[in-house]
Amino acid sequence: MDAPDTLESLFPGNIGKLRIARLILFLGMPELAGMDRSAPLTPAVAERLKQGALELDRAMGRAR
């Protein structure tokens, strides 16, 4: 079974921290700021973040 997603695994490094800051504003999820970056995310939250990141790229004109 795969290891659960964490903020660090989804958005690694300093760039990842800034990407989370963008998602906090984009998705209206201030609770992300206080989360342990290595703590497992629930599948629902992980999915929302993955989907949100794709939508954010599109909104910013950076969709591949």
Partner: protein, 418 residues
């Protein structure tokens, strides 16, 4: 072969202002590249519920209205046609693109931008936008039209009909009268400074700051015939400080009311400044112009920092002075920056630091020189940016003091990461 002189633009004079500031018709101006304009705009638009699109349009209208009103007085322009010409020519001169206002009457009409910095130069090569990005253009047209017809700043509403950024061949903005005029904020103009003279440049360097400033003064930073400033590998704009301050501080104030949002919002404003430092200053330091003027004076890495600070002092950001410089730490004093000057004019004394752009910019130049080894001419792309920012030694800046909080100068303390 013979050359043909370009048609002269109708422009206000660039007024000499103390301590490295740039002013025209009472409006403070600063050079910003398409990278900063992109990252700032995308930050401001992240939370759609904030209503920042409208704020950005209105802020541009306020700045344009101020410039065209005062500029027309300065130049003795009395007819709407003359004033609209001033607005279009200034738009092009400052790098925003080409703006056709000839179909605008006192009741409105359609403004067209065949070329547009915000429409075309923010677009990443990997994609285009879902929503129009020419908010500044729309507001500028509305504010300029109002000023041209001697009307209050909020007299025209602006509706974006088309924009390059969403795939249209040109930008189009419909202007219509708002009667009565909208309740409107006005440009803060020159802002409020401390009137404290900066000390002379740091003498512990081989770099001749005054010589650099003199050499750069000969470079042409005016928009080309498409109204774009292609220099140092980026597209520059000579942006209104009053526009930037209005949109940034309105964003911050709206975020303060939302629990847990202000910290990430401020982090992203600082990051936009870091991108600015990285791309604009990085573009400068990898340019032939740098090689011709500054590089010959640089005998060590510290000289690169002194050299780029000298260049910054030509860009309208006030005056920077290197106070302390070691391998792991840089302390810069920033005097008379547009952020603090504008904040004080808009809101009075600040309760928290407000100089986001320079905070990020200082870290950006340090990271470029100390961490990214810009002297080795890396390619300044996203991959390099991420490599540098993710490096353990990537630097951060703290604001030890800030002019908007009542301090004599803004103190930027840059510290290399562990």
């Amino acid at each position: 072969m013979t050359s043909h002189p370009p048609t002269a633009r109708v422009l206000c004079s660039m007024e000499p202002a103390p301590y490295g500031r740039l002013l025209t018709a009472g409006e403070p101006l600063v050079f910003h590249c398409n990278k900063y304009n992109y990252w700032l705009q995308q930050t401001l638009l992240l939370d759609r519920s904030l209503g920042m699109r409208e704020v950005m349009v209105d802020a541009a209208a306020a700045s344009a209205h101020s410039l065209v009103s005062r500029g027309s007085d300065e130049l003795g322009l009395t007819t709407p046609e003359e004033r609209l010409r001033l607005a279009s020519d200034t738009f092009a001169q400052f790098g925003f693109g080409t703006l056709d206002l000839t179909r605008i009457t006192t009741s409105g009409g359609e403004a067209v931008t065949p070329t547009s910095h915000f429409g075309q130069c923010l677009v990443d090569e990997r994609g285009s936008f879902q929503e129009p990005q020419n908010l500044f253009d729309a507001g500028y047209a509305a504010g300029a039209a109002a000023a041209a017809y001697g009307l209050p700043a909020g007299s025209f509403g602006a509706e974006i009909l088309a924009c390059h950024s969403v795939g249209d061949p040109e930008g189009r903005v419909a202007l219509s009268r708002r009667d009565p005029p909208a309740d409107f904020f006005l440009s803060h103009g020159e802002g409020v400074g401390n009137e404290i003279a900066p000390p002379p440049p740091n003498a512990d360097t081989n770099v001749d700051e005054l010589g650099i400033l003199e050499a750069l003064s000969g470079l042409d930073f005016s928009g080309n015939e498409e109204g774009l400033i292609h220099r140092f590998g980026v597209m520059l704009t000579l942006q209104f400080g009053s526009y930037l301050n209005r949109v940034v501080y309105e964003f911050v104030h709206r975020m303060v009311d939302r629990a847990g949002m202000i910290e990430p919002a401020e982090a992203l404003l600082v990051e936009a400044g870091h991108r600015c430092g990285f791309h604009t200053l990085g573009g400068v330091m990898t340019s032939p112009e740098w090689d011709a003027v500054v590089r010959p004076q640089c005998r060590n890495e510290d000289d690169w920092i002194h050299g780029i600070v000298a260049v910054i002092n030509a860009l309208g950001y006030g005056t920077w002075r290197v106070e302390e410089l070691t391998e792991d730490r840089l302390v810069v004093r920033a005097y008379d920056g547009y952020e603090s000057r504008g904040y004080k004019a808009l809101f009075g004394r600040a309760s928290r630091p407000t100089d986001y752009l320079v905070q990020g910019g200082a870290a950006g130049l340090f990271n470029l020189i100390r961490v990214g080894k810009i002297a080795d001419r890396p390619i300044l792309d996203d991959a390099f940016y991420e490599t540098v920012l993710n490096a353990p030694e990537s630097a951060r800046t703290e604001l030890a003091t800030c002019e908007s909080m009542g301090d004599d100068y803004t103190s930027l303390v840059v510290t290399r990461g562990e």
